[in-house]
Symmetry: C2
């Protein structure tokens, strides 16, 4: 019998669905820590120290998201005997949302729609640039993992010239993949800057005032990775002063807690009034969260747990010290 | 000397730019019909009968858009000696806008953005579908000309399975291209229906209540061709009753006249209140009109006029009776 404890928000329907996917040899508990605690696998995104100490049998933590939170990684790194895994189930929805945000921002979809709903046909900002043509222009993708590669394929389909940057250029990488030192020379040519990097200590603040100043005025920035990778003050000012054309932002600087989330309370996502800008497309951290992807997540989770129950290795192990 | 008369809205800057592109052997007049009228080429989107009779030397009409208006085609068909050309300069911007509208509609970009600007993080319609995943789903493209083929390539880049429908299937067309009779059997599988057809008498009302009823509930309809191809009452009701998920609409049923356009007067684009729906992305017929594409249009026009001045055949001749 494999004891698994699950501590993240699922509806009763989702729990029922998950159970239909699990092998009969898996004993699943959900919610508060069971007494006595005998689980060997904990599925939790934000475990506290006491959660990792609750069960003497615990050997594996599954973080049920694609991007593990830094605080979880820091905590897990203090438990060297603990195997940590993530669930990169949402590469396709995330990449799709990155492309949707890029196109919405580049085409000024929101300001055009808002004005046209008043039946006025002219451009939202007469005499100023109202949209950017992407075909033939250069897209710079930061991070070339599961999401970045899908974004690259979609942007090539739109006729863009794609460059990608990853932490370590590998010998078998194609020509359009660069190492981090190429960033300053690539930014001035980038009509689209799409951020799909894992959040690690090194990527915090990677895009700051200096990097944004290198972008051309028609540039569109998209972030579907983690807010902290882009300096929020620098981003706000670049957008407000229209030094870059627009941005599509899915990931933020301040998040509601569970209680606020449950009552859908208003919680500002940043220290700056991004909501007053019409050249930002705002998305509440949902790139990986379409209806279909909730199913995908449960299927990926079930596959991982079934593998463990059958004595097979779990997929997608990560190193808490490196963050991916 | 080649006499060319130009009668469509260009700014003084654009006229200056156009003149820098033209051969010195071209004499260009702009605006009201010159007296005496000796032009051999007229560039005009909506000529009246008297415009086509004004100059005894007229032999060529260039419609400065990709999609010639039906009334212009009907009028031109009464002048069998007149060669009619269009300017399909805007395939890339139009295709890009089609994909932008599809993704914005499928992802609920507008309702999410609107709610999140009030700092509320939850989905706009709790308990109901708020977005559609396109990857792995089927896209049906109506019209497989310059625009349709580009849309197909972009949607394949997003991992969609693409089918296309054209008026006459050609022997060398690939397997995924169908003739018009396949429409009813393809609609029920289409997560995306993208309309890129020329507007001809046969395509008027092609998508009506019956066709919309065949689409699945998660379907997203995009029209960047001509409003009249989709029955407006049927489309409005399908969206209002959420029998399809969403639509992205760039082309409409009623347009401002020149005077209304100049003062940016409010002119409703349809007989139904589409602006009250949150599952439609509204765009004021601008798919081919980015800043870059205005330059593209002038360059294509200059290339056509220079070809005529050099005694070469003009590109993109169309048959007014067929409409393309």
């Amino acid at each position: 019998m494999l004891h698994v404890h699950l501590q993240f928000d699922l509806t009763p329907d989702q729990i029922r669905y998950l159970k239909t996917l699990l092998d009969g040899t898996i004993c699943l508990t959900v919610g508060e820590t069971p007494q006595p605690a005998r689980f060997t696998i904990l599925v939790h995104g934000f475990p506290r120290r006491e959660d990792l100490l609750a069960s003497p049998n615990l050997h594996t933590l599954i973080i049920p998201w694609a991007g593990p939170p830094l605080e979880t990684l820091r905590l897990a790194a203090q438990f060297p005997w603990l195997q940590v895994h993530n669930l990169p189930y949402n590469a396709a929805p995330t990449a799709e949302m990155a492309v949707a945000l890029l196109l919405a921002a580049a085409k000024g979809i929101l300001p055009y729609d808002r004005k046209f709903r008043e039946h006025r046909w002219g451009p939202p900002h007469p005499g100023r640039r109202n949209s950017v043509l992407l075909e033939g222009a250069m897209a710079l993708i930061l991070g070339y993992g599961r999401v970045g590669r899908r974004v690259a394929e979609a942007l090539r389909g739109l006729g863009m010239e794609v460059r990608a940057l990853r932490r370590e250029r590998r010998p078998d990488d194609p020509d359009h993949v660069y190492g981090p030192q190429a960033l300053p020379e690539l930014l001035p040519q980038a009509a689209a800057l799409v951020i799909c990097l894992p959040h690690t200590p090194e990527t915090t603040g990677l895009i700051g005032a200096r990097e944004l100043a290198l972008l051309p005025p028609q540039a569109v920035l998209v972030n579907v990775a983690r807010g902290e990778i882009v300096d929020q003050a620098a981003l706000y000012h670049a957008l407000a002063e229209r030094r870059i054309f627009a941005a599509g932002i899915d990931v933020w600087y301040h998040y509601p807690d569970r209680a606020q989330r449950q009552r859908d309370a208003p919680v500002p996502p940043a220290a700056f009034p991004f909501h007053q800008l019409d050249n930002v497309v705002m998305s509440p951290h949902r790139a990986g969260w379409s209806e279909e992807s909730e199913d995908l997540r449960l299927r990926h989770l079930a596959a991982a747990l079934n593998a463990a129950a059958r004595g097979q290795p779990l997929p997608h192990r990560i190193d808490p010290a490196r963050g991916y």
